[in-house]
């Protein structure tokens, strides 16, 4: 199986090296390239925007302070995701402790994506998205996060496992179970979709 890593808005090596060498403009550029994606990712963990901003703040302050010790990550974006995630969860953990929520196997918080229906006019696609939403809500937060990293961010198992501090086998297991659940619900819709398409083709033939 060919492994192809998808990296949207990736930082180039010269930028990263310039930043490590103390180039303030390169640092600012790094911030501007990743700011939106980091906020979007953080928003999946919490709707508390000031908490996300705090985490992004700490992430970049640390980055500058440690710049001389930093290595060359395969993907700068993934490295930033991982760091942001650690910082954010630590901040949330503090809050969670005060709320005294039992943390079992799963996260003590939700991982939540909001679907956008405004751009979908095709009924069958909207139906598919509805089913998908239902299926995803039955998954654990961990599974939802893997699904997100994989299908939205387009990451490989290795990259997703690295960001979530999991080993690859458990990542694969988590995702495989999640996909099984998706399949059960989505397959039905697919069948309905096919029937609808065949139905409309037949209707067209009859008209002509």
């Amino acid at each position: 199986m060919p492994l192809k890593k998808v990296q949207l808005h990736e930082t180039t090596a010269p930028e990263w090296n310039a930043f490590k060498g103390g180039d303030w403009n390169a640092y600012r550029q790094l911030y501007n390239i990743h700011f939106k994606a980091l906020n979007n990712y953080g928003y999946k963990f919490t709707r508390d925007v000031s908490l996300i901003e705090d985490a992004v703040h700490d992430l970049f302050v640390n980055l500058w302070a440690k710049r001389e010790q930093l290595g060359n990550p395969v993907s700068v974006k993934n490295y930033l995701y991982k760091s942001l995630r650690n910082l954010l969860l630590r901040k949330m953990d503090v809050q969670q402790r005060f709320l005294a929520i039992d943390s079992a196997e799963d996260y003590p918080f939700n991982f939540e994506v909001s679907f956008d229906t405004v751009f979908m006019e095709d009924e069958s696609k909207k139906e598919l998205q509805r089913k998908l939403k239902e299926a995803i809500q039955t998954l654990s937060s961990r599974q939802q996060e893997i699904i997100y990293l994989r299908f939205y961010e387009g990451l490989s198992y290795e990259a997703a496992a690295d960001i979530m501090n999991l080993n690859i086998t458990s990542t694969y297991k988590l995702l495989y179970k999640a996909i099984g659940k998706l399949q059960d619900r989505v397959k039905l819709v697919d069948l309905m979709m096919m029937l609808a398409i065949i139905g409309s083709k037949r209707a067209l033939l009859e008209i002509n």
Binding site: Y43, H57, F119
Partner: protein, 340 residues
């Protein structure tokens, strides 16, 4: 990409395949072509592939939280934290030279602002006000409520350029007759967000709100320049009846309009919706007409009205909504409260 190797894949296999995922995420032109061929050659066996494709695509239609308005201010905070944390850097002291430079900067900035304002004409409409203006070249633009158009004062020299924020219907005047050989000076360009529309004499509707733009073409031909999901500059040439939609950092969605006349219903103050969710209707009430809509439960916004709504007033629209969706709707001036 060779899709024939997927012929015996199950739905799960597709979702686990990195190459297939990369194809759905990136949708390179050459892969899309191979994909279409694969589907044409194996109409039945490619069904599962299509289901996997649609599933991933549907999942990827998500709302993006970019927090853009905080981008600048947070960076300033970060800079302050870094400066405060680095003992090497002395406290800022304002030398006389710095003070002089600062005054100059302020003067220069206001001068710049003055000149850019002075060089651009702008028309802005309030909520609920529809206004038709004629541009210096004779082209007509109808602005929906809460919309703004601006254009250079020397509009007729060189290419005609306008900037749009909100919704507008354009009837652009032909300068040339031969639409296949347009001279640079004959161009008419509409800018909205990071997207440009190059017009070749035509009638079309643009809506650009909340970083999303939709363009419907009624007559003529236009070319849309936009950034795709990989930030690559792309072009799309629209034909009459086409509707395209684009949001920041996503691909262009291209559809055929079922009822092109609905696109411009707003000029006659008609509120027209087709199988619309409450969310879509609320955005028109808020963006175009300046209402404030409050829901007691966010989930209400996902409710849908099947079929067509075509009414001439907000009052009628709210009546329909309350009867078909069984909602309690209270209006107080410009504030609408919707409860279950």
């Amino acid at each position: 990409m060779d899709f024939s190797k997927f012929i015996n894949y199950t739905f799960e296999d597709f979702l686990n395949d990195d190459a297939f995922l990369a194809f759905v995420v990136e949708q390179n032109a050459s892969d899309v072509l191979a994909w279409e061929k694969f589907r044409a050659a194996h109409p039945y066996k490619s069904r599962i592939a299509l289901a996997a494709f649609n599933t991933i695509s549907a999942y990827r239609q998500q709302k993006v939280f970019s927090n853009e308005q905080a981008q600048q201010s947070l960076f300033e905070k970060i800079s302050v934290s870094i400066t405060a944390g680095e003992p090497k850097i002395k406290k800022l002291s304002f030398s006389p030279f710095f003070k002089v430079a600062a005054v100059f900067a302020v003067v220069l900035l206001s001068a710049l602002l003055y000149f850019t304002m002075w060089n651009k004409d702008a028309v802005k409409t309030d909520y609920g006000i529809i206004k038709t203006i004629t541009l210096p070249d004779g082209s007509e633009v109808t602005l929906n409520g809460n919309s703004k158009i601006s254009y250079a004062a020397n509009f007729n020299d060189g290419p005609r350029e306008v900037w749009i924020d909100g919704e507008a219907l354009f009837k652009v005047k032909h300068i040339n007759i031969d639409t296949n050989h347009i001279q640079p000076d004959e161009k008419f360009i509409v800018h909205c967000g990071d997207l440009n529309i190059e017009v070749l004499g035509t009638t079309f509707n643009v809506k650009s709100r909340h970083e999303k733009t939709s363009i419907g073409l009624l007559t003529g031909k236009i070319r849309v320049d936009y950034d795709d999901i990989n930030k690559k500059r792309m072009q799309f040439v629209m034909k009459p009846g086409d509707l395209v939609k684009h949001a920041d950092e996503s691909n262009l969605v291209h559809q055929k309009m079922l009822n092109p006349q609905h696109l411009t219903a707003w000029i006659n103050r008609q509120l027209v919706f087709q199988n619309a969710s409450l969310e879509e209707m609320i955005s028109v009430l808020q963006d175009d007409l300046g209402y404030e809509v409050v829901l007691d439960d966010k989930k209400i916004s996902e409710l849908k009205v099947e079929g067509e709504i075509n009414v001439g007033s907000v009052k009628e629209l709210l009546q329909i909504l309350s009867t078909t969706l069984h909602l309690n709707i209270k209006t107080n001036n410009k504030k609408i409260t919707i409860t279950k």
